[in-house]
């Protein structure tokens, strides 16, 4: 698991942490969209989920079919210990890298950050 997490992978894993109830495709996608303001495609989301699952960073199980889904089942995801570890690692790398350059980042962020 030495490979660093990609940007979207990071977002997906963090979204899982945010969600309290059952986390499956719909809430994960919503979480990312709501927080980042970026439209995320379901296809891309599942491609990433599958990749993370294969890397053992999350685990999943099939849920029950619901009428709202046209009788289809959900796939429920939970963060695996390795996933949490990977997040920590990424966070650590990120904070180390950010140290000392926060003011610059704030500056660069200014036009956006200045928005109410």
């Amino acid at each position: 698991m030495s490979r660093a997490l990609g940007g979207f992978e990071l977002l997906v894993l963090l979204a899982l942490l945010h969600i309290d109830e059952e986390s499956y495709g719909v809430p994960i996608r919503r979480e990312i969209e709501d927080r980042t303001g970026r439209e995320a495609s379901t296809g891309a989301l599942y491609t990433t989920l599958e990749r993370l699952e294969r890397r053992g960073l999350l685990s999943c199980r099939l849920g029950d079919p619901t009428p709202a889904r046209g009788g289809r089942r959900r796939k429920l995801y939970t963060l695996a210990p390795a996933g949490l570890e990977a997040l920590r690692e990424s966070y650590g790398a990120f904070t180390t890298m950010v140290q000392g350059v926060e003011p610059l980042l704030r500056l660069a962020d200014a036009p956006d950050g200045g928005r109410p």
Binding site: V26, T42, G43, Y46, A68, K75
Partner: protein, 880 residues
Amino acid sequence: VTGGRPPLIPRLLLEVLLRGEEREVIAGDLEEEYGRLVRGGPHAARWYWRQVLRAVGGRWLERGRRMVVFENQGWKRGGGDMTREFRQDMKFGLRSLARRPSFTVVAGLTLALGVGANSAMFSVLDGVLLKPLTYPNADRIVRVWGGRPLSKSTLAAIESDVSSFASVAGYEQRQLALTGVGAASVLTGAAVSPEYFNVMGVSPALGRAFLPEEAEPGRDAVAVLSHPLWVGRFGSDPEILGRTFTLDGVQRTVVGVMPAGYRPVLRPWSFWVPLTVDPTNFSDYEGTAGTLVLARLSSDATPAQANAELESVARGIQQKIPDVFTDPVVAGAIAMPYLDATVQHVRPALWLLLGAVGLVLLIACANVANLLLAQGGGREREMAVRRSLGASRGRLVRQLLTESTLLGLLGGALGIVMATSLLWALQSHLTDGVPRGDTVGVDYRVLGFALSVSFFTAILFGLAPALRTASADFTSSLRGGGPRGVRGARSGVNRTLVALEVAVSVVLLAGAGLLLKSSWILQRVDPGFRSDGVLTLQLTPPRGRYSEAASSTEYFRQVEERVSAVPGVTAEGTIMYLPMTQTHMSTMYTVKDRPLSEGTPKPFAMVQIVTPGILETLRIPLLSGRWLDATDLPDSPPVGVISESLAREAFGNDDPLGREIEMFGWLSFTVSGVVGDIREVGLDRDARPEVFFSFYQFPLVSSLALAIRTTGDPRNIIRGVQEAIQSLDQDVPISRVVTMDEVLLASTSDSRLTTLLFSLFAGIALLLGVVGVYGVIAYTVSQRTYEIGVRMAMGAQHGAVVREVMGRAVLPVGVGLVLGLAAALSTTRVLESLLFQVQPRDPAVLAVVTSALTAAALLASFSPARRAASIDPARCLNSD
């Protein structure tokens, strides 16, 4: 979620393009979110579309990436999965086919018929029409062709005036006697312009081609040998160059030997001699049109440019010599790619046959699809089990398709065997009747064709049943018992296929019926003479030995005398060109004292040179006046006998006897008699106006056909006749010994081959159609055993059940007949050029075809119907 379902098309896209769990979760998510969004407004649909396209595209990209890229053990896993799955499917398919041997055999043979017939037809088409000629830059070779040979003066005009041609050559096929090298025999070869070798782009392997001056009369005593002749007759003599041998009684020096691989397009020539051109000899140079012209386009010229130039050449010739000789042929002469010119007359028939055989394949596919559907009924449980164990629908479809591909390959392999045998059976027809026919064979192109046809058909017949079987409602299948009623949907597909088969069969049978009727009529055409009981052979006295006209006439006089003494011979005569042999001479004529009005083209008449005995031998009726006889000699007044149609054309209602006709620009003769018309060119062509001259008065030719009438089988006198002829002169070769009946038969071999093949294909179509109807009805009965049993138990009458079951066949067959008739009415036009005195919409043929198919279909449904009626209610009801 009424009203909340996402748009249909993207939803179906998801269904079709994604698999398994992936499909379930993605489609589920999107549907759930769409349900919430829809209240938000109309942009929901657009959002859904966008999401679906991105999902599908992304997933497929990912799938592709995972197959190609090393990612963890992604390559091994992804690739391994695919191969393992494929190998599994193959193994499973083979086992499944082996488990059902009767199905496999029937389906395999059906496909073999289709693929075999198609591959055979394709190899003929490929070998004859598609494969390029083997000469260097063969696409630059054109034939200058107006439907008939040209005169040598026209050849000269084309040579000098058409700049689009890099080289131009004339050739005339020659049959000449080879003597002094082994037994005397007749060789087929050609007299060619020295440029011939440049046009073909081939030069002799040994020695040289002809020099320009060798085309002058008197300097032409040279020859180039074919490789087989050099090997066979001259023992591959390395010192052959400069050696002399006797051809046509003339000593010729060998100057070259052609390469082993070289062969002219139409028939293997044994020798080449120079075609002499003598502008001072009017009759030979301008008065005879017997030269065929080939040319090689110069590097920057197009056929269209050449044609424009040819047209101006034609105008020039007409202005130069308007009265004496106008070559009407050159006016319509066009430069046509050599390959096209060689094969154009068989092209329509070959494409037609390939089309017909394609339809046969379609029927075969429908049949196999029907079989698979019926099989599918029995496999629903198997599929249901596999699905409930987690196999996806796509996985099952892929597996079933692998199975049908295996079946297709089996059919393809058998089909190639069948194609090879079909070609073998047709070999003699192909060699004699079709240009380039002898080069036809099964090669890698044909194998490739058969393979692709097999794959294509496997998908064609396998896809629908696979989809249907794999998506069968598995809960009801698992619940056991199986269906007891009629499977509405499946029998609907079955019956559609039957209707299709019947419709296609109607089209093919109608075509075959028309061709058969046409050849039936053709065989009953009166050729104008009696061919039965007549033996014919060609006598070619070497011109060197019989150079004097007197010696030649004396030879034939004595031959006739000796042959008449052979037991069984009742009449004999000689003729320049036997009727129906595709060679004839024609020339323009004018009636004396009847000038043609300005601008009228001069009419043409065919010329025959015969000995008097031919009238009795061929039993040509003398209508008026007197026939040629022994008194017509070189020093007596020239006479000719004209045919009925020439009498009508030249003299109308006037009495032609005693009138004078002029020909060749130098000959004027008196009409002494009128005979009945002979169809010289072919049974399907009207008789042309014709003049008969006596060989003893006009000994203009050296090689003549001898016709001998006998009381019994003409083949019985062959030996006696040959001995009688050879007793006169050992060195005169006898060739082409055939009965006149055979000559007649050979003249229609082209159309008979087409008719034979088309009928064969239609027969296969009918057979497959009947099997199809039988299969579907039998299947319906087997599905309804329970229902019929119940009805029998309730007191249904035997006859009523038979009628009811057969009635099931009526609708699809009826629909098929109507569709087929409509299709036949609109498509049989393509046969028009192949039909003789039969309309493409001949009502009698269509009526016969319709009733025959109806009868066959009823017959096919009768046996399962009877089986249905003999169902024992007690047993059938207890069995469940």
